[in-house]
């Protein structure tokens, strides 16, 4: 959809400016007049929440970087200095450390929303794949950030994750020493991780712009999965979506604040308050909670290279979802069979996360192996096969009909329910 803007500059200056840089028109057509489906739920506010979280991480991060010292001998002390001496340093750090978790909570809800409503299907494949790219960049950023305080978990997390690359045949060891800048994780590693941790969020911001751009071509999906057909299916972005997004962000901020002010260390590990010691590994090392399902998959495979391949495949397989899912119906609300498989899949992912935090022995390993097999079967068997054997429920004729009920459409609508007529391509 190429929406020529309906923006009309009012003042002489606005006119002068618009003919030189038509940014106001772009904002107007993207965030003011842009038609959004009238039936969106709060699951559609997580995009705005994610933008807020990215901004929050960048602002708190830039301030932390003013007081943090990326040197193996001083990093741990400098974080303690932030916590004890810098004015409100404790707040900056707790916002940033918990902010990473909040970011991941929001992104997982956002991703599973897409899985449920089939938002990855045509015509939104590129939009969706850009989302997967953002997720991978987020994982890299969070991993490198966690290394910066240079505690025991930082050091051993960095060691274990960089060593994943040593599984690559022939060149693995060379790659790892290039990642480290030495023969083990050390000061050069910390320096480059800090540099990249600073850079990557801005690359994420770049991909977010492409993501939103790609979103504005087909427009948003919605709980019915059927496209906007007439102006009555849509409402303008402002004020409807704007105010809803702002409200959701505020509620999310309350949730965020609860962690920051009441249990700021709940999601961290006590061991990370012990300075890095290359001679002793903590008895029980676990990654941050948001990596646990993938970590469980890594450990489920009793072979080094196999485990690494399985772990990376578990994310990369997402990219192929638009083509693995053979069903033409987007929304799971109209897919009775798939709905059950969807919830089983959610349960398996949560279970994998739980197993990732358990020691890798006995029944835990067995359970992780079963879940890993199911995880891949969901993509490689369930998604392709269901499209052929499932009989979807009848779809409503329009978004309006799904909201108002069939009888009411065409009859009089309640006052105020009329949106400005929108033309949607």
């Amino acid at each position: 959809m190429s929406h020529s803007t309906t923006y009309v500059p009012k003042s002489a200056f606005a006119k002068w400016f618009e003919t030189r840089l038509p940014v106001a028109g772009l904002v107007h057509s993207s965030f003011i007049a842009f038609p959004v489906p009238r039936n969106l739920t709060y699951f559609w506010t997580f995009g705005a929440i994610l933008v807020f979280m990215l901004a929050a991480q960048i602002v708190t991060g830039v301030f932390l970087a003013m007081y943090y010292t990326p040197n193996a001998a001083m990093a741990f002390q400098s974080v303690e200095h932030i916590m004890r001496d810098v004015n409100y340093g404790w707040l900056l750090r707790y916002l940033h450390a918990n902010g990473a978790s909040m970011f991941f909570i929001a992104v997982y809800i956002h991703i599973f929303r897409n899985f449920y409503y089939g938002s990855y299907k045509a015509p939104r494949e590129v939009l969706y794949i850009l989302g997967v790219v953002i997720f991978i960049l987020m994982m890299a950023t969070a991993f490198m950030g966690y290394v910066l305080p240079w505690g025991q978990m930082s050091f051993w997390g960095a060691t274990v994750i960089t060593n994943l690359f040593s599984a690559i045949p022939l060149v693995g060891d060379t790659i790892v020493s290039y990642l480290w800048g030495g023969y083990a994780v050390g000061n050069p590693t910390l320096n480059r991780f800090f540099s990249l941790h600073f850079l990557l969020p801005f690359m994420i911001a770049g991909v977010v712009i492409l993501h939103v751009w790609a979103l504005h071509v087909p427009g948003q999906n919605n709980p019915t999965g059927i496209p906007i057909k007439s102006g009555k299916d849509a409402v303008p972005f402002t004020p409807y979506a704007t105010i809803k997004d702002v409200f959701a962000v505020v509620v999310f901020m309350l949730f965020f604040a609860w962690w920051v002010f009441y249990i700021p260390n709940y999601l961290g590990h006590a061991d990370n308050y012990i300075p890095a010691n290359p001679a002793v590994t903590p008895a029980h090392i676990v990654p941050e909670w948001y990596f646990l399902p993938f970590y469980a998959i890594l450990r489920a495979i009793p072979d080094k290279l196999g485990g690494v391949i399985a772990m990376f495949s578990a994310i990369v397989i997402w990219v192929f979802m638009p083509w693995l899912d053979t069903s033409k119906v987007r929304s799971t609300a109209y897919r009775p069979l798939y709905k059950q498989f969807f919830w089983v899949f959610v349960a398996v992912c949560v279970l994998l996360g739980w197993l990732g935090a358990k020691p890798a022995e006995g029944y835990y390993t067995l359970a992780a192996q079963i879940c890993t097999v199911y995880y891949f079967a969901h993509f490689l068997i369930v998604l392709p096969v269901l499209g052929f054997i499932e009989r979807p429920l009848p779809l409503p004729n329009s978004i309006l009909e799904s909201v108002m009920g069939v009888q009411k459409v065409g009859a009089g609508m309640p006052a105020g329910a009329h949106a400005e007529p929108q033309s949607k391509g």
Partner: protein, 181 residues
């Protein structure tokens, strides 16, 4: 589209386009080299890899001592006769990474095992005197090593490697230096 059917003769301009493009591609690719190379261990790190001398006298029988060479952890283990026997009595053919104990220690010094101290799975430090064979047990993902540092279970693919070292006397070794004779 209506293309002329005869092939157009390449012109001097075509040649210049291709030559310029090729030069740009080659120089672009060349520029990547110094950036990638800068990531490798730097000269100071490599220089810090000078050999280290270790005095074995204070290491009691059964004790494992940890030290660093080139920033990497190394275990020096003074093995008990029972541990040596356990390591030697293994049927090498049954091992994941088959290696005789004799190939992992210096002749006449079977008492001393010197190995790198990072698990060959993902680099954690295994705990000494633990696990089924009382060699080492890695707490991270459960790899098991015997009293020769050979992998006997878990995800680790290979034995704990033996670093280059040599005995300069009966109670002294130099790590980072192979015997010259």
């Amino acid at each position: 589209m209506a293309h002329p059917t005869h092939a157009v003769e390449p012109t001097r301009r075509d040649f210049l386009f291709i030559a310029t493009g090729a030069a740009a591609a080659v120089s672009g690719a060349t520029l990547v080299w110094p950036f990638v190379q800068s990531l490798a261990p730097d000269a100071a790190t490599v220089a810090a890899g000078a050999p280290v001398e270790v005095d074995l006298t204070p290491i009691a029988e059964g004790q494992i001592v940890k030290l660093f060479w080139r920033g990497k952890l190394i275990f020096v283990r003074n093995r008990t006769p029972a541990e040596i026997k356990a390591a030697e009595d293994v049927n090498v053919a049954t091992l994941r990474d088959p290696q005789a104990d004799a190939a992992r220690v210096k002749a006449g010094h079977a008492q001393w095992l010197v190995v790198y101290g990072n698990c060959t799975h993902l680099g954690c430090v295994p705990l000494g005197h633990q696990g089924e064979y009382e060699g080492w047990f890695c707490p991270c993902h459960g790899s098991i090593f015997d009293t020769s540092g050979r992998v006997r279970g878990g995800p680790a693919p290979t034995n704990l490697p033996v670093p280059p070292y040599t005995f300069t006397s009966d109670t002294k070794i130099v790590i980072g230096q192979e015997a010259t004779a």
